[in-house]
Symmetry: C2
Subunit: 317 residues, 2 copies
């Protein structure tokens, strides 16, 4: 199977009853600052506070009755864990979420609050994987990777699908589509949708300089895994997936990297002028526009505002 635009359309039919068709927001002040027109698809208002619900729900609702009853498993300390928990709820099955013992109490509480069975493990990847493997052996549950999965990519693509459709209905046609890149689930899905619906639009991704494996891989033409990522954008720490990479190579026009300062500055701007809670990862595209001083004169850009899960007691300012 290869993810195609048709898979994304089918994913949208599958998940639409369960996820929000999130609104698109703009800010006059931010538009004046950047000199173009920005449309933010507000996935911070999505179930679980991030676009991740789309991929998780698509994967879980793709499982047959017998398989889904055995439950689902993932290892994640972030938005994917919450999304899998919510998706499992919607099919009355159990989500087993392996979380590192040093994951924040806020995140653990959120995932438990969504009804998941949280299993703690040592904070190293080997232990996460072996713990997940043990649960799969014990329960027969299905493993759901956060991004290196065709069903997840198709689900994440539905955000751009809705954005482009809703803007078309409002008479707006995008010149550029932008999203952040971590593992590449959102970017691969967004790129496939954009290439199909807006063949002439540019597709640009943004990532932190402190986790710039996507940029380095894109430039080299081969996957270079991320080692020791260091960024406040905690949704973008991972390496690009093997399934995601060829889709990105084929469809994406450019990847821009940004400093931590730019991320925090863009996040502040969005809080102040858009009155929305955006997590650092969700501010990375605006950070790239500002840091690289993109020429957006008379141009319309659609941006996936990826999520809003922030510990409001520990803000970076």
């Amino acid at each position: 199977m290869t993810t195609t635009f048709q898979n994304i359309k089918k994913a949208h039919e599958r998940i639409s009853p369960f996820v929000h068709r999130t609104p698109i927001h703009s800010s006059r002040i931010i538009n004046e600052m950047v000199g173009g027109q920005l449309f933010f698809k507000c996935e911070n208002f999505q179930k679980g506070g991030a676009f991740k619900a789309r991929g998780a729900f698509n994967a879980i609702h793709s499982l047959d009755e017998v398989t889904v009853k055995r439950g689902v498993v993932t290892h994640s300390s972030g938005n994917h864990a919450a999304a899998v928990a919510l998706g499992a709820n919607s099919r009355n099955t159990t989500a087993h979420v392996v979380m590192p013992s040093n994951a924040s109490a806020v995140k653990k509480a959120a995932v438990k609050g969504y009804g998941a069975n949280v299993i703690e493990c040592a904070p190293v990847l080997a232990d996460r994987e072996s713990t997940a493997k043990r649960i799969i052996e014990e329960t027969g549950a299905t493993f759901l990777h956060p991004y290196n999965d065709e069903r997840v990519i198709a689900g994440q693509g539905t955000a751009a699908l809705e954005m482009i459709e809703d803007l078309a209905e409002a008479g707006e046609k995008l010149d550029i589509v932008m999203c952040p890149v971590g593992g590449g689930g959102l970017l691969a899905g967004t790129a496939l949708v954009t290439r199909s619906l807006l063949p002439t639009a540019k597709i640009v991704a943004a990532e932190p300089k402190g986790a710039d494996d996507a940029k380095r891989s894109f430039d080299a033409g081969v996957l270079i895994p991320q080692t020791a990522p260091d960024t406040i954008a905690d949704g973008l720490l991972t390496s690009v997936g093997e399934i995601n990479f060829p889709i990105i190579m084929e469809n994406v026009d450019d990847i821009l990297t940004v400093s931590e300062e730019s991320i925090i500055g863009a996040m502040r701007l969005m809080w102040q002028h858009m009155k929305v809670i955006v997590e650092p990862s969700g501010a990375v595209p605006l950070a790239a526009i500002l840091e690289h001083e993109l020429d957006l004169k008379n141009r319309k850009m659609g941006i996936i505002l990826s999520g809003g899960n922030v510990d409001i007691d520990r803000l970076p300012w």
Copy 2:
């Protein structure tokens, strides 16, 4: 003139080309906490970050060409000032805004950023009023009171009008409508609309215990001005207006007061679960629901989320 539902309908026609039809948001988690269904009309996404644009635009767009050319004046340190500045822009005239010298730099900068002529004065009401009077004498500009004004009340009522209309279109009928009360512009307008469109709905207001003149006046049946208000809800410091009070007495069913702790707690909940920036005043209705443990079982409540102008460097937690 007496403000009527018809005035509010006319105000809506007048201002619709200039203000946002703001969205209505809900939170599954908050609904579960309160045991009912809450619909928040998100005026934090309104121009200037608060519902105040509605009243200011209605007043300014009610002025004839000759009068409006002489400019408009107000004295305010808050959301009304920004709203008047934006309204004046939309008619290519000057807004003179008298602000106390101790108003926050953030607020002064915002009002200046909207193009207003900011005049500083000593931080006492007498000086504010005399400074405004001097400007009126010098320029012939029209004074725009933040709430004790029929045109302003009619404008503020348009938020509830849109909320009730949009929910009706979605098949939802409200049992209760709630908003915060400071000067009573929003409350008077909201009450008139609700009484006309939903005759059997309850109309409830909420205010801080530290600025509870509306509650005391409502119970006594006579206006009791607020002295020495003390609350984090800086949009609700003022006394109820003389024009507003009889409308409130006639139409409002109850006024609830809340502690500072409840306001901050409700604000946190809205930030965390709705991913929206709400200012303390905008969190007062949810604070009242939680503090008074309102029985909302099987009930639908519409709430005007009044604004989102917060200094994000000085959060109350």
